[in-house]
Each structure stands twice: as C-alpha cells, then as structure tokens.
C-alpha cells in the first residue's frame, strides 16, 4: 500500500533539474509523478518512478542527495468536489497532510500522492472511510 517516493535535494542552479531528468531518461526510467518545492536557494524534488531501486542507484551514482519517503497514492473520482470530500475526511480524523501532488495517468479517475506525517494512521483512516489507496502493483501498472 505504501508507495516509495524518491526525494532529491537540489540547489537552484541552471541545468541541475535537467541533469536529473536526463539521467533517469537515459536509463529508460519513466517518471510517473513529480513535484518540486522551492525556496530561494534550493529545492526538493519529489517523484514516483517506475523502477525505484534502479532510479535510486543512478541518482546516487550521479551524486544527487536522495532519500526514500513513504507516501500513499489515493484514487479520487475525477469530478468537482471529490478532492474536498477526501480532505474533509482527513481533517475530521486529524490527519496532517505535509504535501500532495497529482499523478499523470490515462485512467478515468484522478490519482493524488499524499505525504502524511503519520502514514500508519492515514492508512487506517482510509480503510475505515472507504477511500481507495492504490497498491504498489496497481501504481506500477499505470504506465508501460
């Protein structure tokens, strides 16, 4: 159920993000979801890739500072109001969302990646509330 996200520390330098993306691209690794958080002099890239282990190794070899983070991919109906409903459930259960970003997929429903401060509690809440969390296999099956 838990999905492995790669987090990369990145100095704000022209070309650095391109270097990261090409390193993965050249190795045939598909980036399935990606978001960048930025401050004045550095950024943190978070992404879900097709081949986690291989991607980690490539990035480490290229001297990127990387970290494994556990996140949840949640399926939400692709219609107005559905995100609000899910977030309301989190709020009612005192679940703290650190950050979230959307997935690129060709499915009908929307997929959102959530980073919680307490992932175990988040899983329990989702189960109880009938919110669909994708398994690793389901996520990886999304792209070729």
């Amino acid at each position: 159920m838990k999905l492995k996200q790669i987090s990369v520390f990145m100095e704000n330098q022209p070309g650095r993000l391109a270097e990261m993306a090409s390193s993965l691209g050249n190795a045939g690794i598909n980036i399935m979801a990606l978001t960048v958080a930025e401050s004045t002099d550095f950024g943190v890239v978070r992404m879900i890739v097709k081949d986690f282990e291989k991607a980690m190794k490539i990035l480490k070899d290229k001297k990127f500072t990387v970290r494994e983070t556990e996140v949840l991919a949640v399926e939400i109906a692709d219609q107005p109001g559905s995100l609000g409903k899910v977030l309301k459930v989190f709020a009612e259960n005192d679940l703290n969302v650190e950050y979230m970003y959307a997935f690129v997929s060709r499915r009908q429903d929307a997929l959102i990646v959530f980073r919680f401060d307490d992932i175990e509690k988040a899983i329990a809440v989702m189960k109880k509330s009938g919110i669909k969390v994708l398994t690793n296999e389901e996520v990886l099956a999304l792209t070729k």
Binding site: Q5, M10, E11, D41, F42, T65, R67, Y99, R115
Partner: protein, 432 residues
Amino acid sequence: MYWNKEETLPRKELEELQLAKLQAVVKRVYDRVPFYRQKFDALGLKPEHIKKLADLRNLPFTVKDDLRDNYPYGLFATPMSEVVRVHASSGTTGKPTVVGYTRKDIETWSDLIARCLVSAGAHQGDIIHNAYGYGLFTGGLGFHYGAERIGATVIPVSGGNTQRQILIMKDFGSTILTCTPSYALYLADVAQEQGVDIKKLKLRVGIHGAEPWSERMRDEIEKRLGIAALDIYGLSEVIGPGVSCECIEEKHGLHVYEDHFLVEVIDPKSGQPVAPGEQGELVFTTLSKEAFPLIRYRTKDLSRLNTEPCKCGRTSYRMSRITGRTDDMLIIRGVNVFPSQIEHVLLNIEGLEPHYLIIVDRKGALDDLEVQVEVSEKIFSDEMKKMDQLKNKLENDLKDYLGVNAKVTLVEPKTIQRSEGKAKRVVDKRKL
C-alpha cells in the same frame, strides 16, 4: 595640538621612559602572573636582565592561545577586587578573550582616546556622535570616556537604528563621527535615501577603525560626508582603540602612542624583526597597564613602521594602515570572526558535516556574510519545513555565536571544493 606632553618627547627621552616602564612591567608580570614567571624561568630570564630596550627581544612572545589557555582571568596581574571593568572580544573557538582594567587603566585609556580626538582636531564644545557599539566590545565605551575626558559632549548613540542616527546627527548638531568606516558610508547611503544632505550637516571629522579600510574608502567617506576621515587602531588585548591614530595635519600613518606601548614589526615566520620600514606582523608590549599587561603580544595584523618625523610635531613612529592578517580572521561589520567559530556552530548540529564555505562580500557599504553548508543525506528531508527549520536554526546559532548576521545557503554534498591539506574555507570578495 596635543593632549599629553609625552606625545612630543624627544626620542631619547621617550626611550629612557620606555626602558624604565619596560623594566617595571617585566617585573610586574614576573612577580604577579604565574604564566609569565614560568615562561621566563624556562628561558632563565630574570626581570633584572632587561638593561636596555633591545633586551626586549629576549622576552618570549604572547599569543592569543595563551589568553584562551588562561581564560578568563588567568593573565591578570591584579586581584579582581582592583579590576573595575572587563571587556571581551571573539576567541578562535568557544570562549571569548577577556581583558581587564583597573581604575588607573581606564584613566590611561581615556587619555589615549583623548589624544586621538585631539589629534583629529576635536576639542571641548565638540559634539561627538559615537556610533561604535557599546558593550563588551571596546569601541563604544573606549571612545565615550575619551570624549568626556576632553570635555566634549558625547552622544552615546551606539550601533544600529541608522535612520534615527541621521535624525540625531542633524538635530543634535554632531560635529565628530566615530564609527567603523563601512558604517560611515552606510550612514551616507541612508541619509541620501531620507533626502538629508549629510554634507551640509555640522560634521567635521570622522575617526574610523575596528576594520580594515583603504585610501579609496577614505576618499569616498570624505567626499560623501564632507569630512576629514582619520584611521584609528587598537585591539582589546592591548587596550582597545587608541593604540595609534592618525593626525589631521598629515593623515599619513597612525602615530603609535609609544610611551604606553612598545611596538615591533616581525617576520611572522621567523619571529625576527623585519628591516626598518618593511611589512611584518605588529607586536605590542604594554608599558602602563596594571590589570592586564602583555609582553610582546602578537597581533597577527600586518603593517609597517615609518620612523620619519611627522610635521604635526609628534615624535612617535607611525604605523601604516593594516594591510592584512597572518591568520584567517575576518572582520565583518567591525566584528572579529574566525572560521573556526563557524565550524564550531556547524559541528554542534547533529548530522551536519563540517564542509562549509564562507563568502564575504560588500553590498553597498556594509559587509555581507554568507555561509554555504553542505546538506548530508542524514539531514536531508523531503519536507520543506524541516529544511527551513534547519536553515533558520543555523542562522540563529551563527548570529548568537558570532554576534553578526550570517545568511546560510544549503548546497548539495561534495560541491564545496575539497583540497588536500588546508581547505579553502573563505572567499573574501570585498574590494576595500
């Protein structure tokens, strides 16, 4: 104009006075400071071996580490009950360098600052705008006492709050400005922003020190503030400001007040005196201080001595502007900063690696300190707020520890250049 008759003593008389005072201070430290007694004994030296001024060279040097090893009061030559004040400056590591003054030392120091002020043309009736920091730093209180000594009016404005300083300067009618040279230029910037023509104010003279500057900066200060700008030198270990100062007649070299301090210029490597007029490290022996006398204190400041008589009539030798340091100490906004202090702060943070680069620049008039720190995998977090917390903590710790603002930039690991042997820790982009 002079303040003390000693300023114009014929060299021969001056040297006689120096010898008598040197003999007294050597005896004083031998009798009262165990550190010196042990050092002299190890060399088989007795106070009575000092028979002429040249015998000074047989005495051992004192260095900043000796002060640290005897922290806080170990080198004092008087009981604490006779010490009426202490000041402190940055040490190379955790602990500051502490200096003490008896009542007579404060008198001596006040007289020295009085000399500086008078040699800058100040007199009773002047309004002295003292923008050196008040506190443990010797600048503020040092000037304060000297200004009162000559009967001038002192405005103890201290550092900071610059817009208000412009108002005070204008409304109170300040005639003499005492502050670091970079702050003088900053005052000019702020006055301009406020639409105040600082050149039209009553300011006449500025006495600037506590950081290195240049003739180019002097021209700029004089032009922009419409004043004569003079260089003053001192360090807390030796007494504070007032070890030497330029005269307004010549503005060419700082008169060392040699009846209170013996000055030498040595080759920092060999410890031997350099040829007359050559550049080297300044070494001072205090001749008058009671609480904290120092024998052959190595300042790590580079300068040279000019023995030509000065047209102002003072007979003392003149030292050139400080042209550099023999160590890696930085002076940032008048505050002494050692890279080792920055390293100390970084190492106190769990998981942080001691790979850092200090970048000093001058943006406008004031110094800008940036510390680049490598992020290790251990402390990297995918959560921005944790990264921000780390950065803020580092900035706060540095500010607390150094007494000066530093901007922290987190950089990727292994991006700061490693070099074999001595790492390059400092990039100083300032053009003085």
